[in-house]
Amino acid sequence: MSKPFERIALVGSPNSGKSSLFNRLTGLRQKVANYPGVTVEKRAGTCHLPSGRQVEILDLPGTYSLTPRSPDEALVRDVLEGRQGAAAHADRVVAVVDATRLDRQLYLALQILGTRRPAMLVLNLMDEADAQGIEIDVPALERRLGVPVLAVSAKTGMGVDRLRQTIDRANGHTDTNGHSEANGNGHGNGHANGHTASAEGNGHAVVADAPWAELDPARGYKEVESIVRQVVRRRPTEKAVRGRLDAILTHKILGPVIFVVLMATVFQSIYAWATPAMDLLDAGVRALAGLARATIPAGPIQSLLVDGIFAGVGTVASFIPQLAILFFFIAVMEDTGYMARAAFLMDRVMGSVGLPGRAFLPLLSSFACAIPGIMATRTLPSRNDRLATILIAPLMSCSARLPVYALLIGAFIPNRHLGILSLRGLTLLSMYFLGILAALGVAWVARRTVLRGPRTAHVLEMPPYRVPSVRSVLLAIRERCLLFLGQAGSVILAVSIVLWFLASYPGGHPETKALESRAKAAAAAGHAQDAAKLRTEASGSALRHSFAGQLGHLIEPAIAPLGFDWKLGVGLLSSIAAREVMVSTMATMNNLDGSSDPSESLRQALPRAVNPKTGLPLYTPLVAISLMVFFALALQCMSTVAVAKRETNSWRWPIGMLVMMNVMAWVASLAVYQGGRMLGWG
């Protein structure tokens, strides 16, 4: 692939404002993809320079040093050393530091300059440095380091134009292209041997001997101290707000209380406040489907469009409000610095199952829906922590399971009370606890098997409190929603079309045809009620004789030991689209109108259903419990699988999750049903 523009990599610590600078330089011209072979995201965008030239800006993951301890950090080193190949080769490097904390962040900058790549240094957050009375002698720093140094505030935009000019000028008057190509070719070998390519262009050596990547920390920090003494002057200012805020937010009692209130707000918002927007999107998609039904003649094309494509689009669209709201909260909590405090508060609690404090939010979100939950795991810096969290997120009982629980509980669990506790409420609660217990077990096992490895050290920065920028928050929301639409959305749409095909073909069964013509005759005779009833029976017959119905029969031997008949099998197949679809499918299967509130009539119909062979009730309370246990533990939802694929950048994890959860669900339901029968409950 040709490399159209010169590529410039931004490198800096987390919380150096690197991403805000990236947003400033690229605006909406950015996109996210994965680096080949790793789970690290590649954020790149284009930037227009004053001369009209364009360059590509690469926002590398935040890192504290060039000695890698995580895939993210290893990637930064690989890009700097040209080991990522042409896909992520950087022609020049911009080291970004927080001007208020040069004492620490300059260390990484020295390592970066030590790689002898053409480089410049950006002192970001200069507005804050000014406010804190920190004065930096930029020309002196420039002389000392031998590279261009720019004072910038990505937040206010101060100095960004000068940065663009500097990038432009360096591009214009040196033969950087030829130089860096040569560099790129010789890199792998040169660095692996511990040598450094000869330094020309911008990179004057700071300390002449060893490359900085192998810098001795004691010597490096001595150098940093000496530089800071020379170039930084501090005017005394009063103590920042940090101390006072921390005293409240990490207070022994107030801290957890505030945390719980905040988390309850986040949960409530994705669980309930997203609903109006979801309903609106749903109505929009329905209107489009209605339009298609009205304009396109009835037949396979109309059916594909309405029941296949629009159904899939509706599913994909329904996640967007939840994702947007959750990523709004995540961006605000990250940007203000609260996320680090929440992790500090929760680390001990989550540590008991081998997860870091930060895993709390993704898991909480998963009670609303595993899709935003899994996408929120990106706030976890360690790969193993992230994978363990993705693994157990779908076990949190999501809101799509609720209609299924509600139907089964309403139909089969008597409305009795045990003291003050309602039996129905208790059943629902036990389903939630079942999921949580299974998740704890899976995390515990995974931490000792597939995700073993050294426990990740928990040394996390607690950044200063900052007012988040509206721009960064909006860009973060947009980025996540686009990623979901582009990559998970296409899988969901494809599966929807397959499910539509299974439910609609081969069609033309004599029973269905007979019912359809009787419905027409009834309509012609003016018996509207009879016609509607016959039409409903016809769609039930069509589904029962479709490929999906045949598959239901096919899998019946596998699910019969759990107490499920083939009709429930078809319901389980349909729940691949989304778990709540089970309810409307069961309605259609049982000749009930699935379009308007199906659960009410189903609630009465299900307990009355009779097994044609034995004459006994087909569904008993024990079958209902077995089915609920299955729903609590099984991974049926294709959207979850698609997102897990996206977030882990491989099919290995989602397939492993499918097998693990479904086997677990099958075994648990088997134990419930067979155990219950042995006790004479069946």
Binding site: Y64, S65, T67, R69, T100, R101, D103, R104, Y107, P217, A218, Y221, D246, T250, H251, K252, I253, G255, P256, A340, A343, F344, L345, D347, R348, V349, G351, P454, A457, H458, V459, L460, E461, M462, P463
Partner: protein, 75 residues
């Protein structure tokens, strides 16, 4: 001389040494915890773990188990 996890919150200490040489001790050094550095223990989390430190003007949270490996001289 004592380990960092035994420093009372609110007090200061000077880093003396980090026990064991591995990638984790290297990462502590690179965060600025080199011998001779003055640090402050700010507070402990409500359940006693982790603890918050100030190193060269930046705040970090570190688990007690890991703090045990850092030998310091209380001031």
């Amino acid at each position: 001389m004592r380990s960092l996890d035994r420093i009372v919150p609110g007090s200061r200490a000077v880093v003396h040494d980090i026990k064991a040489e591995d990638s984790f001790s290297r990462s502590l050094l690179e965060l600025g915890l080199v011998p001779g550095t003055e640090i402050e223990v700010v507070r402990r989390a409500p359940l006693g773990d982790p603890i918050e430190l100030v190193v060269r003007g930046s705040h970090f949270s570190i688990r007690r188990q890991e703090a045990r490996r850092i030998l310091v001289q209380a001031i």
